[in-house]
Symmetry: C2
Subunit: 65 residues, 2 copies
Amino acid sequence: MNQTFNVQGMTCGHCEKAVTQAVQSLDPQAQVRIDRPAGKVDVQSTQPRDAIAKAIAEEGYEVVG
Amino acid sequence: MNQTFNVQGMTCGHCEKAVTQAVQSLDPQAQVRIDRPAGKVDVQSTQPRDAIAKAIAEEGYEVVG
């Protein structure tokens, strides 16, 4: 299932990696694509939206949608 | 010896860590203090300035002074 999140605070490549790893620690099979300038995180995963959003938020980024 | 570098491109905590680790991989004894909003990196190290600047630059940050 493809899910898109609007995430604030991703400023550099390290941030992209941190968000990707946060999602993949929840679901190692997840595919994550990030458009940093747009603040968009596309996740292909079987995990529920809430769980993915929580994993991103716990990494220190604000999930706004 | 205390040396201050002006560094551009440090946008988040991961960047601070990357710069600190780059300096400490050159000199494990180095003490590194970063003022990210000001773009200042203070390094206490016996290593020459050029070598420290090179280590920071190789991490992907621009040393402008």
